[in-house]
């Protein structure tokens, strides 16, 4: 049991039907919002799930909590398969898994007092906390940094950051093992963001909660996650431990995503090489053939247009779906041309992955491993 991850997601698929607006609601096809996503979240760990809007990261989070019913695949939480639980059977599952929403203004009922909002989970689950509901709620309020005397106030009397604290208090009320955080800080001001990120970290330490942290802000994700998965158009394209992903990403998309974010440091920002991706995200109704990223990829070859890259483990804990990974480039350095130093992944070779990296290193393509985003030895 202890070796098992808390959450195991296998080949998760969530498709939405698209229908015409006419009388007969003709089916026009489907949007493959999540298309075969697999990952684990361990106990007490934070897995960051990043990507641009429309990549399916929020749908993944909601499908795991069964707020949206997945089309296929399997979700196991704490050893229990929750994929096909009925609505009634889901009730006890909600004690184990909770959610924090992006918009603290819409996630709270404006006509309920803070006390009744936070005590909601106790009522739904018919839990009688020792010492009474009111005491338990006030303790929760204090724990998340709210004044317990504001028990009878309404959400409109609180600022955005305080409202997000209310949402967090509600989520931790039943001591869940997993919380899916869907962009929990993106609606907040910078100085308030930091307060909430710290609070989430403290709660994790105290209660051993696991987070699936869905966000588009890669800097915040780096601060809070142990491992990070990158999604593009319904697929995970790369998943690795935080430090590996941020310093030596192998997928061209991860690389482009990181280089597109300006650093709050004028000198470093000037030295950096930015890769600007062309175009927009393709329509998920009509995803490109082969590798879904090939239409915007600066390393795409003919093979990428036809052959779907498989997600393989290229190093322990580092999975990747790419035919031409960026093994030769340390992030922040210049990329010579679209084809320089291309190393092809072996054809459909799922068996012998970790040697691939070793071989590349032997050929001198590995380059220096720096843990720094910009390889500038003089700085520190």
């Amino acid at each position: 049991m202890s070796d098992q991850p808390l959450l195991r997601v296998t080949d998760l698929k969530t498709y939405f039907p698209v229908k015409s607006g006419g009388l007969f609601r003709r089916s026009l096809g489907q949007v493959k919002a999540v298309d075969g996503v697999s990952f684990d979240v361990n106990a007490g760990e934070t897995l960051g799930l990043v990507g641009e809007s429309g990549c399916g990261k929020s749908t993944t989070g909601r499908s795991i909590l069964r707020l949206i019913d997945p089309t296929g695949g399997r979700i196991e939480l704490d050893g229990v398969d929750v994929t096909d639980l009925s609505k009634k059977e889901l009730v006890p599952f909600r004690r184990t898994a909770q959610m924090i929403f992006q918009d603290p203004y819409n996630a709270l009922n404006p006509r309920h007092t803070v006390g009744s909002i936070i005590s909601g989970p106790f009522q739904v689950q018919k839990v009688d906390p020792p010492g009474g509901v009111r005491a338990a709620v006030q303790e929760l309020m204090e724990r998340v940094g709210l004044n317990p005397e504001h028990y009878n106030r309404y959400p409109s009397e609180f600022s955005g950051g305080q409202r997000q604290r209310i949402g967090i208090a509600r989520a931790i009320a039943l001591r869940p093992k997993l919380i899916v955080c869907d962009e929990p800080v993106s609606a907040l001001d910078v100085s308030i963001q930091a307060q909430i990120v710290n609070l989430l970290k403290d709660l994790q330490e105290d209660f051993g909660i696991s987070y699936l942290f869905v966000a588009h802000d890669l800097s915040v994700v780096r601060q809070i996650s142990q491992r990070v998965a990158v999604m593009y158009l319904g697929h995970i394209v790369e998943l690795a431990s935080r430090d590996v992903l941020y310093s030596r990403p192998l997928h061209p998309y991860t690389h482009a995503l990181l280089s597109a974010i300006p650093l709050p440091d004028p000198d470093r920002q000037k030295q950096r090489e930015q890769i600007t991706l062309n175009g927009d995200l393709p329509s998920p109704m009509n995803p490109p053939s082969g590798c879904v990223f090939h239409t915007r990829c600066f390393r795409a070859q003919d093979r990428c247009k036809v052959e779907i890259p498989e997600l393989v483990e290229v190093a322990p804990g580092h999975v990747l779906a790419c035919h031409f990974p960026m093994t030769d480039v340390v992030i922040g350095t210049r990329i010579e041309g679209p084809n320089s130093g291309l190393v092809e992944m072996p054809h459909r070779d799922v068996e012998a992955p970790s040697e691939v990296i070793a071989d590349m290193a032997e050929e001198g393509l590995g380059g220096p491993v720096t843990a720094d985003y910009v390889g500038d030895p003089d700085r520190d």
């Binding site: 100085s191 300006p262 440091d265």
Partner: protein, 348 residues
């Protein structure tokens, strides 16, 4: 001062307040800055800091019946605050233009984008419809919209967010304004598209020699594109300097607090971020002294009730570095060195 020595855009002691049922909202108080053509000034601040209201006042977009404006806004030698609404309207769209955060609500959903762009041309130039349309298509091409001729006949909802933002930029720049105000132009966009848009603004800026005022909360964007930075808090300008001074030698505790609050993409300096405690002040009920005092971790160093009771003046530290703080200079420099050292990767 004569017009020849006045900066291209010179904002002097700008104050904007709105009477409301709850009391007078002091949205902006005594803000001054200037900017030359070809330069970029970033205005940084949190929600409610007055950064957007300042921009709207410069553009003459504040309804004079709803808000009180005082101070001076000199654009190319003309004081916008003293001008009639009609005269300001003539400048808006020709001499100065603005890009808003949300392109969907700033474009008319019922009109084709080509028609909206050519209208912008015909309002300010005496040209035929065909000429205006040709200019519109040319501009769409210049902002990187593929196949501009057929795209001109599409409606805003048929375009992606990034494309709509390009249309907005095209509309703002079609009369080659000399001042462009961009209010959070990329906040609604994905990072890869954000990079494209920032690049586009920069290249058009150098082509037209435009002065750009960029309003943002993203310090990464500031470091990337700004020449000068104005930091606003509670309706006041609390620090102003060139971009290097802000990131490496900032002295106002609020600016330093912002720097310590941002998680960095390129490094994790410590397990925990160092946020500014508390919440921003309500613009109706501003503290009597320094607006930042209730959240400031250093005001005890000043002693007494100076920070609580007295409004600090904007002090000039060097040619272009101003700071509004009661701390004495040695103390400010010490704190600044400490915080910026940690922010840029040093050990605490």
């Amino acid at each position: 001062m004569s017009d020849s020595t006045r900066a291209f855009l010179d904002v002097r002691d700008l104050t904007v307040s709105f009477p409301t049922e709850g009391g007078l909202v002091h949205a902006v108080e005594g803000v001054s800055f200037s900017i030359e053509r070809g330069e970029t000034l970033a205005i940084v601040g949190e929600s409610g800091s007055g950064k957007s209201v300042s921009a709207q006042a410069i553009m003459g977009l504040i309804n004079r019946k709803a808000g009180h404006i005082s101070g001076e806004v000199w654009l190319n030698g003309q004081n916008i605050v003293a001008m009639s609404d009609d005269d300001v309207r003539k400048l808006r769209g020709s001499e100065m233009a603005m890009i808003f955060q949300d392109p969907m609500s700033s474009l008319h959903p019922f009109y084709k984008i080509g028609a909206q762009l050519s209208e912008a041309v015909r309002v300010h130039q005496k040209v035929s419809k065909a000429d205006a349309k040709a200019q519109a298509i040319d501009m769409l091409g210049r902002v990187g919209i593929p196949d501009p001729k057929s795209r001109a006949d599409t409606y805003p909802h048929q375009l992606s967010g990034g494309m709509r933002q390009r249309v907005m930029i095209a509309m703002a720049l079609i009369n080659s304004p000399s001042l462009l105000i961009a209010d959070e132009p990329t906040t609604a966009l994905d990072v890869t598209v954000q990079a494209q848009i920032l690049e586009l603004i920069a290249s058009l800026q150098s082509e037209f020699d435009t002065a750009v005022v960029l309003i943002t909360h993203d310090l990464g964007i500031v470091a990337d594109v700004a020449d000068d930075v104005a930091v606003m808090y509670g309706g006041r300008l609390v620090e102003r300097a060139n971009v290097d001074d802000i990131f490496y030698r900032a002295q106002m505790p609020y600016t330093l607090g912002l720097l310590s609050s941002v998680p960095r993409l390129d490094q994790v300096t410590s397990d925990r971020l160092d946020p500014i405690p508390g919440n921003p002040p309500s613009p109706i009920n501003l503290p009597p002294g320094c607006v930042f005092q209730p959240r400031c971790s250093y005001s005890h160093l000043v002693g007494g009730t100076t920070c609580e009771m007295q409004r600090p003046e904007l002090l000039q530290i060097n040619a272009d570095h101003f700071v509004r703080c009661h701390l004495d200079e040695a103390e400010r420099v010490r704190i600044s060195t400490e915080v910026t050292h940690v922010f840029h990767g040093g050990q605490a």
